[in-house]
């Protein structure tokens, strides 16, 4: 698969072409054209990114489609890109969700052109981050996400947007700068910024502990893990629908992806050492945030807390260190990328009509919006983890992985499934059943064509992943297997050495 065509760079920077066109857009019908150009760009990017899946060889465990050239030679900083079976899915998730976000952004009427530019820049940053194999490049894209996201929350957000934007930015910035210091230490120790050269426990034990903590600070905030999750409800609630979708769908996955790539692959011993702590935090996250979600009166806030709970399964799976757990974690992330995005879109549908996210403002909508109720139900059940939907496979596997390591942790985490069912079903009952006694709710029309266009692909993906997860698993299986076997080899060696 040594094609000389720089496919990954093309996918990364293709959205910027759209940005350039948008920059020179002038005229009366600017908003409509901005939407069209942005949608076209993101769709083209998606189609091109499917090419990655075509040329990607699932049988090979290492990085593929490598691109490499000197960027800042005097500091040995290189431009290195490459994907393995895991990052392929995240790239596709990003390119798949961006057109949907742009479609849902049609309701935005304020500064449409800038909105579209922000999303296309964001897409570049996301794809760039998932394909970067150089530490500086990785950090560049990881942090670069903050600029468009800060503006998306701050300019197009709700009433409390300014507080939310600040909190989002400063919280993640603080986490990231600690990671930057860790990157310095790693780069100096390894003498290179090439991430592949840092994999496999090249760092001495004591240093690895500190490095792990610094990276964990950044990824745990991004993910977010309890107790670093407090920015998320604000950001989700205040962000415009498209912002929440991309935040839940892709940005949260950056933390999980980083944990696999850096914590597990580069710092295996420290990961094994800290795994019990991660288990504890994850279990607390699952149970505590599920309980908090039960108490929410705001729909978006409820889904935001449920995201924190779902990310708990991801960290459990990753740090279980075995193949089942890791596969489960990746599947939970992919599934959550579809489901949480879809749920935020669902909330967006009624928010656009009623301009309220209060659960109490709704009720009985199954009567007048049957299609919407059906769509919502699919995603609600997927979020609960019903077999046959995408949510089930990942949660099952990650809990199985944890069970092999710590049965108590798995037991406690399983209670989260029950709680998850409770808050989601209760949310569904409050919105869709009961008397349809509010006039404005009764007056709402059902889904329109644009909304179908957003939901149908997502429903298909959710069912596909639920019914035939092997399609997804086959691509990353050998990569995951390599990562976990390396990890286990490293950690058992480390255990025997002293």
């Amino acid at each position: 698969m040594s094609s000389s065509f720089p496919l990954l760079s093309v996918v990364t920077f293709l959205p910027l072409v759209g940005v350039l066109i948008l920059l020179f857009l002038r005229g009366g019908d600017e908003a409509a054209w901005a939407r069209r150009i942005a949608l076209t760009t993101s769709l083209v990017t998606f189609v091109v990114s499917l090419g990655i899946l075509c040329v990607f060889d699932p049988a090979v465990a290492g990085f593929q489609l490598m691109e490499r050239f000197a960027w800042i030679p005097s500091f040995h900083i290189e431009y290195i890109k490459g994907v393995d079976g895991i990052s392929v899915w995240f790239v596709l998730l990003a390119t798949f969700l961006t057109p949907i976000c742009i479609l849902s952004g049609s309701v935005v009427t304020k500064r449409v052109k800038e909105f579209m530019i922000a999303f296309l820049v964001l897409e570049t940053m996301m794809v760039g981050m998932f394909t970067a194999l150089d530490m500086v490049l990785f950090y560049l894209f990881f942090e670069g996400v903050l600029i468009p996201m800060f503006l998306i929350v701050g300019v197009w957000g709700g009433a409390g947007r300014i507080y939310a934007a600040y909190k989002f930015f400063l919280y993640t910035f603080l986490g990231s700068v600690l990671m930057l210091v860790a990157i310095f230490a790693m780069v100096i120790h390894a003498g290179t910024t090439d991430m592949t050269a840092m994999m496999g426990g090249v760092f001495p034990d004591k240093m690895a502990m500190w490095l792990w903590l610094a990276f964990f600070a950044s990824f745990a905030v991004k993910m977010p893990m309890w107790p670093f999750h407090t920015w998320l409800p604000y950001a989700h609630v205040e962000a415009p629908t498209a912002g929440s979708v991309i935040l839940a769908g892709v940005l949260l996955k950056m933390g999980g992806y980083g944990m696999i790539r850096i914590a597990i692959q580069m710092l295996p011993d420290a990961s094994a050492f800290f795994a019990p702590m991660v288990f504890a935090l994850s279990v607390i996250a699952i149970i505590y945030t599920s309980l908090v979600a039960l108490a929410q009166t705001d729909m978006k806030r409820l889904i935001a807390y449920s995201s924190v709970a779902h990310m708990g399964y991801v960290t459990l799976g990753i740090f279980s260190g075995n193949t089942q757990g890791m596969e489960g974690a990746v599947l939970v992330m992919i599934s959550h990328g579809f489901v949480a995005s879809a749920l935020f879109l669902c909330i967006g549908v009624v928010y656009d009509r009623m301009h309220s996210r209060e659960i109490a403002r709704y009720g009985g909508m199954a009567t007048n919006m049957p299609h919407y109720a059906l769509v919502f139900m699919v995603f609600m059940l997927a979020s609960v983890g019903l077999p046959g939907t995408s949510g089930f496979v990942g949660e099952f596997l990650s809990m199985q992985g944890v069970f092999l390591v710590s049965s108590w942790t798995a037991f406690l985490a399983a209670t989260g499934v029950v709680l998850g069912a409770a808050y989601m079903l209760w949310l569904y009952r409050r919105i869709f059943y009961g008397p349809l006694d509010k006039d404005d709710v009764r007056a709402m029309p059902d889904l329109n064509a644009r909304e179908y266009a957003m939901f149908v692909p997502l429903i298909l993906m959710v069912l596909w992943l639920g019914i035939h997860p092997a399609t997804f698993r086959d691509v990353f299986a050998s990569s995951v297997h390599k990562i976990t076997s390396d990890y286990q080899a490293q950690t058992t060696r480390g255990g025997e050495a002293p």
């Binding site: 960027w71 800042i72 030679p73 005097s74 500091f75 800038e114 500086v136 950090y139 560049l140 894209f141 942090e143 670069g144 903050l146 600029i147 800060f150 503006l151 701050g154 300019v155 947007r161 300014i162 934007a165 600040y166 930015f169 400063l170 910035f173 603080l174 700068v177 600690l178 930057l180 210091v181 310095f184 230490a185 780069v187 100096i188």
Partner: protein
């Protein structure tokens, strides 16, 4: 010998004679010729920059014929008092660029405020000359002369708007405190001379290689204090906010760029060449000043409502980051410092370009709140300002990130991990006030436009060019980084 002197100092001689002629011309023609003298001054700066870069290469072929061997980089002149190495060249090119931009920034402002005097560009040229001599000084006395030439011009520039109370106050404050620091510098120099019997940098370095007597340490402290005043490092920063706020905005822009860079470069040279033997003594001082500047600049900036004052605190914090590179005291540190300063210079000139566009009914609007709604009325200006602010906050992929990256990398590499951690944490604090400007521009609804309809052409060129440089640095970082490496290399004792 004479020919050598002229070649080595040719750009400076060119600048000096042009400045004198410009002054004569300006006096003869009066205030009408201001724009013209300004234009000439810009051309002179750029020409001097070209001379600086090109001169060694076109002299070289004739080298053998002339019988002089030291015409290349790193040559010394005037009995070793003047040195024109790669370090000096790098800094001088930046200085000339900053001066040219500062003159360009002043045109509209001076016209509106009735300050069209031909002395203005001439004074900037004299200040630039002083700065170039500072950077090239290889002797304590040459250093002092350069510094005074610069300072005297700057005192006048600070109070250039002499019918304005704040401007006069700024000039007076700067003058009084500046003379104090000059006094300290002289006292320190006299101590160093008294104990070593020399003022030349090589001789000093030679004498000070061993364990220093206490008088030398005292002299070192005085010299450091005076330098800290010039670069406005904590605890000698008090003048900065007042002078930044009071001085006419184009002058503030100049202050924030040129003199700061020159003083930092001078500081680096003095510490790393003549005083290299005293590293153990001065590193503590520099580390303290770096930490204190980063902390104070970041936290005190949070409470500011005037954008010029905010930029003053921002500059204090940025000097702190630059001092981190100095504290590292090796080639990597100096390289990082030079990269950092080059980026900061362009960044800060761009910010002042935007500030100069802010004007309500002909009066400069200096409150941060005056930026409200800028993204609606002047989207391009707002985008430029946004780029500058994110860059100052150190968010990748903008240039400011790379400045911080190299500085802190050098610090970690030299085992100064706490310094790097304090640095990144304070940059988080400072990010808050940079974000506030973006918030005001983009998130707040405009009450009324505080910006004149069409900014002058020169302002648009400067802000647009600076913003593009900050944005595109990521694609072409090597020229700056490599020439900074060469500059840093030339500064280090060749072993």
């Amino acid at each position: 010998m004479n020919v050598e002197n002229i070649y080595a100092t040719f750009p400076e001689l060119f600048l000096a004679s042009c400045a004198l002629m410009l002054l004569l011309f300006g006096v003869k023609r009066g205030n009408d010729a201001t724009l013209f003298t300004g234009l000439i001054a810009v051309v002179v700066c750029l020409a001097a920059g070209v001379l600086l870069i090109k001169l060694p290469s076109f002299v070289e072929p004739g080298q053998a014929q002339l019988g002089v061997s030291a015409l290349c980089h790193g040559c010394k002149a005037f009995g070793g008092m003047f040195i024109n190495d790669a370090f000096a060249q790098f800094v001088k090119v930046l200085l000339l660029l900053a001066s040219a931009i500062a003159i360009m920034l002043s045109w509209g402002y001076m016209e509106r405020h009735g300050l069209e005097r031909p002395e203005y560009p001439a004074l900037i040229l004299f200040a630039t000359l002083g700065m170039m001599l500072m950077v090239s000084a290889n002797d304590l006395l040459a250093l002092y002369m350069g510094l005074e030439l610069q300072s005297l011009a700057l005192y006048v520039l600070a109070s250039f708007r002499r019918d304005h109370v704040r401007s006069s106050e700024a000039g007076l404050k700067y003058f009084v405190l500046g003379s104090l620091s000059s006094g300290m510098l002289l006292y320190g120099i006299s101590l160093l001379y008294g104990y070593t019997g020399s003022t030349g940098f090589e001789a000093l370095a030679h004498v000070l290689a061993g364990e220093p007597p206490i008088g030398v340490v005292l002299g070192l402290v005085f010299v450091c204090a005076a330098m800290a005043f010039k670069v406005s490092a904590v605890p000698f920063h008090m003048w900065t906010p007042d002078v930044y706020e009071g001085a006419p905005t184009p002058v503030t822009a100049f202050f924030a760029a040129g003199p700061k860079l020159a003083a930092l470069a001078l500081f680096v040279r003095v510490l790393l060449q003549p005083l290299a033997g005293l590293e153990h003594q001065w590193v503590q001082v520099v580390v303290f000043m770096a930490v204190a500047s980063m902390l104070l600049g970041s936290f005190a900036g949070l409470a500011q409502s005037n954008i010029k004052r905010l930029m003053a605190y921002s500059s204090i914090a940025n000097v702190g980051y630059a001092l981190v590179g100095m504290a590292v005291a090796n080639e990597a540190g100096v390289q990082a410092l030079l990269v950092y300063l080059s980026i900061y210079l362009v960044n800060t000139l761009g910010v002042f370009g935007v500030i100069l566009c802010l004007r309500r009914e002909g009066v400069m609007a200096e409150k941060i709140a005056d930026l409200a709604g800028l993204s609606k009325s002047h989207p391009l200006l707002a985008v430029a300002m946004g780029i500058f602010m994110f860059s100052l906050a150190g968010v990748p992929p903008l240039a400011g990130f790379f400045g911080k990256y190299f500085v802190f990398l050098a610090a970690v590499q030299a085992g100064m991990l706490p310094l790097a951690i304090i640095g990144v944490l304070t940059s988080c604090v400072a990010a808050y006030y940079y974000l506030r400007i973006i918030k005001v521009m983009y998130f707040d609804d405009a009450t009324e436009a505080a910006v004149d309809p069409v900014p002058e052409f020169s302002l648009r060129i400067v802000t647009g060019g600076a913003a593009l440089l900050m944005l595109l640095f990521v694609f072409m970082p090597t020229p700056v980084i490599d020439s900074a490496l060469a500059a840093a290399h030339s500064l280090m004792p060749q072993g």
